[in-house]
Structures are given as C-alpha cells and as structure tokens.
Symmetry: C2
Subunit: 272 residues, 2 copies
C-alpha cells in the first residue's frame, strides 16, 4: 500500500514528489514510550487529508507501521517521551506536476527528541510579519507546503516561543506550529476551522472536551485587539506534541495567565 | 557554499527541509547539448529568489556546477535537447520550522528527457477548478511549495495541454507550468508580475523582446472573457523548456491561432 522508508537508513528517492513539489503531508506524534498520544486521531486525520489530495492510505497499515516504529525507536529515548514523524508523499516520478495514475505513496518514518518544554510561567509571543494564505481546497491540511511557517519561524529567537500569523483580512489564524484558544468572559473563542492553514489534533481534542463539559466555545475570527484587549482572560497555544501553553506576553503586552488555566490543566489530565 | 548531491547517486538526506516543508526552490533549464537556454537568467532568478527566502547562493558556483552537470548528463541524450533541474533547499535539520542559523544549503542536480513537444496546430486548454493563492512575500518564486499546481495538473489528460488557474478575485494568473500572453488589437497583455505564483524566465524574455521591438505590452489582470471573447487575437503559453505554445481551443471555445504567431516565431529565432 505504501513504500516504507526508515529515516535512519536514508531518505526518499531523488525524484520523490514530496521534495519536488511538497506533494504530500505529515504528522508529528508525541510518543510516551511505545504509545502515541492521540494516535488514532492523528492517523484518522492523515488518512482523511491524504484522501483530499487524492492519496489513498490505509489506517490499519499505518497503525501497524507505528507499532513497528515504536519497537524500533522508543529504546533510543531512555523510556522518555519522544516524537514520531510520518511523512507521506504521493510517490516518485510523474510528468512534471502531473502525477501518473496509480502511483504508490512513499512513507518516511523518523523519530526525534521532544523539544524543550519548561515554561511554568507561560511564554512570550509576538505577531508575525509574514502573512498567511489559505487555499480553501487545502484548508486545515498539514501538507508539506509550509514555507510560510518557515519564514515566520525565522522571526523567532530563544526568548520568543511563537509568532501569530494573520491573513490578508487581518484575522489572526494560528501560530507557526500552534492553534489559538482564547478565554473571554463569554467563553472560549478560536478561529473557524475552515479558515486555518493547519487544523491541529490538540485543538480538536480540547474543543471537544470543553464542549463535553458544557463550556461555551465559539469559532469566529480573532483580531489583535481581541488578544491584547481587556476581553482576554487568557490566551493558549495548542499543539499535539507540546500540549497547551499559556501566553504571558504578546507583542510586549502582559496577558492574564490564570483565567482558564485550571480548566485546561484539568482537561489535560484526561488526555490519553 | 552548497552541499552538492547528484540525483543519479541518490536523494537528499532524510531530514532535508525541502522535503519536510518545501523550504527551497528550483529551476528547470532546457539544455541544447552542453548549453543551457537562457541559463544566465535562470541562475540570476535562482540566486535572487533564494535571497528572498534567506538562502545565500553564489552565481559563479552555480554556473560551475551547471558545467559539471552538462559534462555528466548531456551524453545520455544522444546529442539532443534535455532538461537540467536544480533543486535548492535551505539545508537539513533545524528546530521544526525554525532553521538553525548558518545552515548550508543542499543542491540536488538531476537531468530528464524533454517532454513531448509536437503540437503544430496549437493545443487545447481549459480553466482549472483549483484556485491559486499567492502570498505577496513569495510572489513569482519558483519555490518547492507547488501543491496547487499539482492538484490542477491532475485535471489534465492526454488531450488537454494545460489548465489556467485563477485567484479568489477571478483573475486568470497562469497555467500550472506556463505564463499567459494574450494578443489583442491594442497590443500584448499579460497578468502583472506581482500577482503571479511563478514569474517565468520565458515570460520575462519574451516581454523584453516585444518591448525592444516597439510592440505595445501591458500588464493587467485577465478575466475569462478576455481570452474567449472577440478581443482575443491569440493566446500563448510561455515556458522556458517548452518555448511558446499557441492555444487553439480554450474550454471548448476555438481561439484564433495566427494573430501573433508570426511575431512570436520571429522572436524565438533570436533565442540563444
């Protein structure tokens, strides 16, 4: 069903379409020893969004490959948490942009260390100067076309955890690697899924849990004044590897950090 | 200055940022034996646009590598024309989207056969259903983020040479691999460079030659009625490998094929 490549044995073929055109998509999964956090959701998203690009994958096969990857990689991380990355491409070759019919996808499996995650008092963020454009055909898909996120991430330094990107209408959509969740006195707010470049797994899970608990959650465009104005009771960055991170400072404005933190921490205890 | 990889010896490292994020750009150059058509312009664009992405390249080094590539590959094509492809990425590694400072770019050099090019009576084209989005920061750059072009190229079949993509305002911008040039009674028209996803080398060269000859050339947005209406005296698709191709049929509408063809053919004789 896929051609399987292990990153510790080498890369994809020179004519792979992932390199040539970003013709593929990826998942990064937090692994606790041999178990993937929210693994089912990651694989579900990967299969669904690959289908949107016309790339056929089997969830069962992917699950088996993840087990194999756990056995292969987990031992390198001393029993601690690590990151499993699955990179799927449409395959190798084709006639320029035009793929051949019946191409077999390539899957590159790699592992990495967990990024540093020690920010008990919250993190600093800023607004990005890199605009984000979302083609409605690809909205939400974690495709390999991520040059905007790369250029925005170049604005980061060690004192800045994230930059928040906005579209041509000035709506704040997401960070380079995180989705946004705002706590207000009227409930939780997050930008609409259909507007997002990447619709994260952690975002989906947190929104579901909040709704399960009867919390008010609305999806609407966010403007800078929503985040740095008096309405903001707390701003959170969501990422399936990093979890939920509280923003204490945005573009030099101090934000409240405890407005929704108890609720979020309580939620995360149920994460499996 | 770059890490050099020959595609006939293997691909890029598994953690290359070109695969991971489309963090790079490419050129495809028509080679006549050992000589590249419009080679200087290709290398100039590559160095300039890499600079826009913060990737430093040296034109002299690239030129030397092209000579080496000619010596290596030209013999495989029986003295006929072929295609040289240069794929540049920011390098391997980094902290997620965020590159490390001082990364060394990777350059993958590959060769390919010329695509079929026998269409004496012009080609058929259609309008694409895939919208194109252009981030102003990357306008014109032949980056590795080409998923839109891939999805549009999936609409092609062997009877259809090209599909023309439009932005959210309904402006026709370009084909998947070609720029547009329209002949009208008031002169030549092409979409503005700043609106384009890819600003082609052949487009640039043809516009310069037309202006040199005192032809009227204007850059303005094109709508479907401009191409299929009575104003159209000829529609041409420009690509540095394929040259200039006349469209005889667009979305089922017959187009005049001889309105500007003599001028274009005359021009191309001066191409070196």
């Amino acid at each position: 069903m896929v051609n399987l490549f292990w990153a510790d044995e080498g890369g994809l073929p020179a004519n792979d379409r992932g390199l040539a055109y970003g013709d593929g998509l990826f998942e990064t999964i937090r692994m606790e020893g041999g178990c993937g956090v929210l693994l089912s959701r990651h694989l579900e998203r990967l299969v669904r969004d690959a289908g949107r690009l016309g790339i056929a994958l089997s969830r069962g096969d992917l699950r088996a490959i993840c087990s194999e990857a756990s056995a292969r990689f987990a031992g390198s991380f001393d029993g601690g948490d690590w990151v499993l990355k699955l990179t799927v491409t449409r395959g190798a070759g084709g006639r320029g942009y035009r793929p051949d019919s019946g191409m077999k996808p390539n899957l590159l499996v790699s592992s990495g260390a967990l990024p540093p995650m020690d920010y008990p008092s919250g993190v600093a963020a800023d607004f990005s100067r890199v605009p984000i454009t979302v083609n409605p055909l690809f909205a939400g898909i974690k495709s390999l076309n991520r040059l905007e996120q790369v250029m925005a991430a170049r604005e980061l330094d060690d004192s800045l955890f994230e930059v928040i990107m906005s579209n041509s209408e000035g709506h704040l959509l997401e960070g380079t690697r995180t989705n946004l969740l705002l706590k207000t006195k009227d409930g939780w707010v997050t930008p609409p899924r259909s507007s997002l470049a990447v619709a994260g797994i952690m975002r989906e899970w947190v929104l579901e849990r909040l709704r399960d608990r009867g919390e008010q959650v609305s999806e609407r465009p966010l403007m800078p004044e929503d985040l740095i104005g008096a309405e903001c009771l707390g701003l959170y960055l969501l990422n399936s590897v990093l979890g939920v991170v509280s923003v204490r400072s945005l573009a030099g404005h101090d934000l409240p950090v405890d407005g929704g933190l108890a609720t979020i921490c309580n939620l995360l205890e149920t994460l499996e």
